[in-house]
Symmetry: C2
Subunit: 576 residues, 2 copies
């Protein structure tokens, strides 16, 4: 027995199942329902809408075995044999995150292949994996932000059971799993939900498509569609938290913002499940409201990505100042973010040509609410050729960057392969089967970078299968000279962060930063992090007499009472 239910208040809906088209019953709530006694897990179905010739997949489809245009398949969430019964969750505070794209993490690009590599993450010492979106999208490969089925894991990755196997295996190894989810737009192909009901806003759009209807007529059901999707990942897939893509594109003028509603409902689910569930926003608003508690007037999310930390580190290490890096790169900007999380905190942004952001209260806001990274999928993949930091920076500077990141008061996140300074790029790739869409994406990409001076031939074709293949990690690099040493450094930094309470201390009001010509010192309780970014050896004032060196990124660092002599492009962590 299966109950089929679909919301389509302005349509007449029939169910296509077992080669038959069957009438459904319309409820007063605009939902169409039909009980089908013989339907069970594995049964394919689709919906016929008045005014449409072809049968459409279910907006809440749990499984799309033949892709986003094909029929939906009934799936029984109760059937999976979980082995994580003793999993009591993994909290965000204290966690080191690892961003992973299933399609390019392994040669096979599947959940099952990724499971085989989890031991690498355990050895590395990270606590939680953050998966790029895994819900169904058009084509075989994609970053994931073209998703259209917000409840169905992408079949070529392994489908619903594959995702469950992955989460189950991760929990078995003590790793939490965060999932990137996109609710601010539907992908460009296969977005059938808006044919059923007013899922889209009549009034606006964002760079990726029409805005989702969060506050117009019918919005209550659209909000349920989104929040039920969140709850399903957390409950049915045992996921430990969600990374909410580009929340600044969620246009909601109701008195209870979707994000606050989500925080409340997820808190109830967390209470039901008895384990921490984290909601982490990607936001370019620099607005503390997102992560401020509801009783203090905020939305009560648990964390948000902090691009300012990235921009400071990237600009400082590379010397790049184009685009949004314009305001960043000074040691003053580093001091600002390490002590206050936001660089733009109600201050002038030259990129935006206006004031931007709002200061956080560093005395009450814990640093772990900010996810910080030296690299992530966007900051690499949105470069013309998807080159990682290692392509631009000397190994010495990379090591300095890693040291500053992993001793900061934030929640650090690595992008897969960063830990061994992967030589493989991570480029923008798509696999739209429709020629017109493929052309539009290809042309759009090239046009975007042409305006920055890139020749057409220099920018990889997103639709070329080689662009996807090229972006896969090359695991054979891991043990090779240059890479192996970087991996060893990341392991040591993560272990050091875990061993010394001062290095993960989230209290931003206890961070002190001072700097000189090409060097900087960060005080973290009884630990001091000193970095020399210049091309020559420097002797740096530590303002204290440290007892011992915990870690040096290069040989040759020497303590002289309250000073440290640091080789060029190197960093040291010392303790008092």
């Amino acid at each position: 027995m299966t109950l089929f239910e679909v919301w389509a208040p302005e349509k007449t809906v029939r169910l296509r199942i077992d080669g038959q088209d069957r009438d459904m019953e319309r409820g007063t709530d605009g939902w169409w329902r039909l009980d089908v006694p013989q339907a069970a897990a594995g049964t394919d179905y689709a919906y016929l809408l008045s005014g449409h010739d072809t049968a459409l997949p279910d907006p809440r489809s749990p499984r799309q075995p033949d892709g986003v245009h094909g029929p939906s398949r009934v799936y029984d969430h109760g059937a999976f044999a979980w082995s994580d019964g003793d999993w009591t969750g993994r909290q965000l505070p204290g966690a080191v995150l690892y961003e992973m794209h299933i399609g390019t993490f392994t040669p096979q690009g599947t959940f099952d292949a990724a499971i085989e590599r989890l031991d690498h993450l355990v050895d590395l010492g990270v606590d939680m994996v953050e998966l790029l979106p895994v819900n169904a999208f058009n084509g075989r490969w994609n970053w994931g932000y073209d998703g259209v089925c917000w409840y169905a894991p992408h079949e070529p990755y392994g489908g619903p059971d594959g995702l469950k196997r992955f989460v189950d295996a991760a929990h078995g190894k003590g790793l939490g799993v965060l999932l990137d989810v996109v609710y601010n737009h539907f992908g460009p192909s296969g977005a059938y939900a808006p044919m059923f009901a007013p899922y889209l806003s009549a009034s606006g759009s964002n760079p990726w498509g029409a805005s989702v209807n969060l506050d117009g007529p019918g919005a209550d059901q659209v909000r349920r569609y989104i929040i039920d999707s969140m709850l399903s990942w957390l409950r049915d897939y045992h996921v430990d938290g969600l990374r909410l893509d580009a929340v600044h594109a969620l246009v909601d003028h109701t008195a209870i913002h979707l994000l606050e509603q989500a925080a409340v409902e997820v808190e109830s689910l967390s209470t039901h499940l008895g384990r921490p569930l984290s909601l982490i926003a990607e936001s370019d608003l620099n607005d503390p409201r997102l992560i401020t508690s509801r009783e203090a007037g905020g939305y009560g999310l648990h964390g948000q990505w902090d691009d300012d930390v990235h921009h400071v580190l990237h600009a400082m290490l590379t010397g790049e100042r184009q685009g949004y890096y314009g305001d960043f790169g000074s040691l003053e900007s580093l001091e600002q973010v390490l002590t206050g999380a936001f660089f733009h905190a109600g201050t002038w942004s030259s990129f935006r040509a206006r004031r931007h952001g709002r200061p956080i209260d560093r005395h009450t806001m814990p640093g772990y609410r900010f996810v910080a990274y030296l690299q992530n999928h966007d900051q690499i993949g949105n470069r013309a050729v998807g080159d990682r930091l290692a392509a631009t920076c000397s190994p010495g500077r990379l090591r300095v960057g890693a040291t500053l990141l992993l001793t900061a008061p934030f929640t650090p996140m690595l992008f897969m392969g960063e830990e061994w300074a992967a030589g493989t790029p991570w480029q923008f790739f798509t696999s739209h089967p429709e020629p017109e869409l493929a052309d539009a994406v290809r042309t759009g990409r090239r046009r975007e970078f042409a305006s920055h001076g890139w020749a057409e031939a220099e920018v990889p074709d997103p639709q070329d299968p080689d662009t996807f293949e090229r972006s896969k990690l090359d695991w054979s690099e891991r043990g090779k000279p240059g890479h192996a040493e970087m991996l060893e450094l990341y392991k040591r930094l993560i272990a050091l962060r875990r061993a010394h309470p001062d290095l993960s201390d989230p209290r931003m009001d206890r961070v002190e930063v001072w700097h000189g010509d090409g060097h900087v010192v960060v005080r973290r309780g009884d630990c001091l992090v000193a970095a020399n970014l210049s091309a020559t050896t420097q002797t740096i004032n530590l303002r204290a007499v440290p007892r011992s060196v915990l870690l040096a990124t290069e040989p040759g660092a020497v303590l002289h009472r309250d000073r440290v002599e640091l080789p060029a492009e190197s960093a040291v962590v010392v303790t008092r």
Copy 2:
């Protein structure tokens, strides 16, 4: 090599070790220090203070093998072989707590004997054990509130290794451990710390002794003494949270209250350890500030005990109205606490003869922050004869009480033995070896209850070993008629709470209560809890047509469309 350190700014201190008295070195901070190369775990030591003839135990002693008056013993926290390496913590939201007194939980009264009974708790379905204070106190047995060594587990319970074995075993079975800790006074015998330094306030006292110095000269170090003790339980003993005894007796006029300082430091430790650590206050202030986030001006604790819930339920079930039960017992007062946590919320308290409390914001404050109970050690043991609710209430009323508690939006807590309606009392017992102190305690107890009309012979002698023995659980009861059925009901209620998200939903603004003559209905999302407290069958309006009965405490409950026919003194949980 062991570094001995003790704070005694106004004294001269020598170390007595291996039969020798050795000079120590005074630092400018008022701490005396000495490195002793040959001292290691197992070495006994004590301090000689100027002006005192006898050697005194270390205020921060980790172990008192011969009791609170004897020497201290060096202990190595790094030596224990923990097996809980994959423990990622147990959060408070969603947990069902079980209050346990180690001395009376088993006949042996030890940590190791308690370990043997953990399977009972797993079967019962609770998530966290809350231990009454286990730090060293005077005598062999005691409730624990006469503790004097705030870092040393009571030796007859099993000492430091015993507590670690207990926590390790609990974690191995998926159970978290909370520890009751007392920082508002020192016990009446063995409190040597105040001889070393100004641990006590010059200006006040509470019912249990002199107030602790939290804001006078020297208070910084006293606060460190307290907070370092908290951190030690959480870090060195792997404990998951602390129940802070009687925080209303922590007199602190500094701008950052000790409790806020504790919340901040424990949050840093939680980030370091990567697992949730809960601070739960026992407070009779009815002040939401304790559990309000710091960014909203509160102290940021995770929870607090809620006596009002107890008083409502107790008064309603028993009909008692003496003392602080005076204002409670009506169905209106039940409605008030189930929808707003506090009964006294800026309203008149006849017991206090003044207004009391402050309303919580039920739209933002989650119910799990309130620990609620039908019985606890105080509410039983502070009765003249330590009689449990089962001595006063019919089994039917007990079952109604358990149903209302375990379907409420709060964090439920059981007192050991409650789950099988233990026939054993839990009386006030002490074992002070000093005759004068013993007499004072005995006399004080009898005088207290004489004023309530109890004859001297009726009130058990706290010093009589039989009073202690009588208070031990009788595990043979568990399977006997009457007891076994109650145990079964508790298991079913806890399982039901876990299975139905609505029943643990912490949103108080979603709770609806209505009542009639001797009956009450509580709406919890799609679940409804109906209780008939009267002596006759009643037909109760559910204001909805439920689909099925999830649980009935008595046979004979019948659904009639939107009504339920309930036998006398019974309750039912139904779902729509």
